[in-house]
Amino acid sequence: MCKYMIRPCSFVSAVWLSALSGSAWGGSLTVRVEPHKAVIVLGEPVLITTTVTNEGSEPMKLSHHNVPTIDQHSLSVVDLMFGADEENLEHWSDYLRPLGKTGPRTLAPDESLSFDLVMLYNRKDGFFATTPGKYWIQGRVVIAPSPYVEILTTPIAIEVREPPRAERAVWQWLSANKDEYGRLVQVPWEAKLSEEFVQECNRICTETTSSYGEYLALFLSRWYCEGPNKDAAKSQRFAEIAKVKATSEKVRTEADKLLSGKQPTP
């Protein structure tokens, strides 16, 4: 978690838990970026909770970014930077949704916004991590395009490990079907999936103890709730499986949201 004051600057060199110089607007902004786990295995998505709070006395205009939000109806004001080299992080895009210039979001004093993001795959390069190692995730909020003001949070390390031997067959299958897997996780509301892919996801969720099962169940639940093949009963069933298999509070929370009456969208 990181907390900053804003300062007008091209690229803020963020300092851990420190207050930088005051802004021309006389306000301050807190940005939090929290991945659901610090250690994952290859092919495991990262669920990221971001929160932006205006702790100043003046409204602030923040730019929207078309980053992969878990909620299809949400446009985030927090963007993501990512990379294996902490000093050279690059903008993250999943290349699955249109790029758009959007109007700003005004954040009133004391107002707080939270966005749930998911990071797994992009259509240009594939999975965000294909080899084990340490990777960095950084949040970015753009206050104004001119003069350009942005806030960068301190990069957060994510350790990516090889899947255990027993999981390698699943990992290989997910790798061979990374486009469908990526679409299921990042754009379930529009993912057109093959019957074979859905059947195998179902099998992994219900007949194995694979650690990928909690994510496949969670996002199959969302897919049946919002996607092209809506089925309320299956959505609830997979949400229950995800909740049982969940190894993090975040997955449990997302499963609860689906279980608490979220119905398929028309």
Binding site: S63, H64, L96, G100, K101
Partner: protein, 204 residues
């Protein structure tokens, strides 16, 4: 009870109960005519995007925009809300010159549309709003006319549309998803000038 009631020119409905003490009539149905109208103006199209800021914007990247490929068709289906699905978005485009795009002949595509997907079309007015969209990797940009209107709270809609055109083509020509693209006044940020200078051709 008998008798009928008509409100505001609506059809007659039967009175089924009356309470003189409360001055209350109960009717068998409700029939009050009303007209619901959103603030969209569907007569704004067809219109070509405002490209007047393109030349000065691209000049520092050593690119001269020329509008000579003859692909200026107004015969495009009307879509009230452009879907978010890139495949569905591409189906709306009528980019006949796509195959001409090459390292020695750059082609980008612009189409003026009404508004974006319903989640960010500013209907209702407390929603986020999208000024334009560019399809990742496949290329092609849409400029949304409905949100470039004074009634949508945009201070200078003409300047805003010019900036949107530069912004969206910047994604496509620079082959980049990074933000921000411009300074908000139709001037590319330094990193986008670098993207455009170093690319071999626009998307796709």
């Amino acid at each position: 009870m008998g008798g009928t009631l008509s409100v505001g020119g609506g059809g007659n409905v039967s009175i089924v109960a009356a309470n003189g003490g409360l001055s209350l009539l109960t009717t068998s149905a409700l029939n009050i005519p009303c007209t619901l109208k959103d603030d969209d103006d569907n007569t704004l199209l067809p219109k070509a995007p405002d490209t007047s800021a393109m030349a000065p914007a691209y000049q520092p990247a050593y690119v001269v925009p020329v509008y000579d490929v003859g692909d200026n068709s107004m015969n495009v289906p009307f879509v009230a809300n452009v879907p978010e699905d890139p495949v569905e978005t591409l189906a709306i485009h009528r980019w006949d010159s796509r195959t001409q795009n090459a390292p020695d002949f750059w082609v980008a595509y612009l189409l003026e549309g009404l508004q974006s997907a319903s989640r960010d079309d500013r209907d209702p007015n407390n929603e986020a709003f999208s000024f334009g969209d560019t399809v990742n990797i496949a290329g092609g940009s849409l400029i949304y006319l409905e949100v470039h209107q004074p009634r949508e709270g945009v201070g200078n809609p003409v300047a805003e549309e010019r900036d949107t055109v530069v912004h969206e083509t910047g994604h496509a020509v620079g082959r980049s998803t990074d933000e921000p693209v411009t300074d908000g006044a139709s001037n590319f940020k330094a990193n986008y000038l670098n993207h455009i200078r170093s690319t071999t051709r626009p998307w796709p």
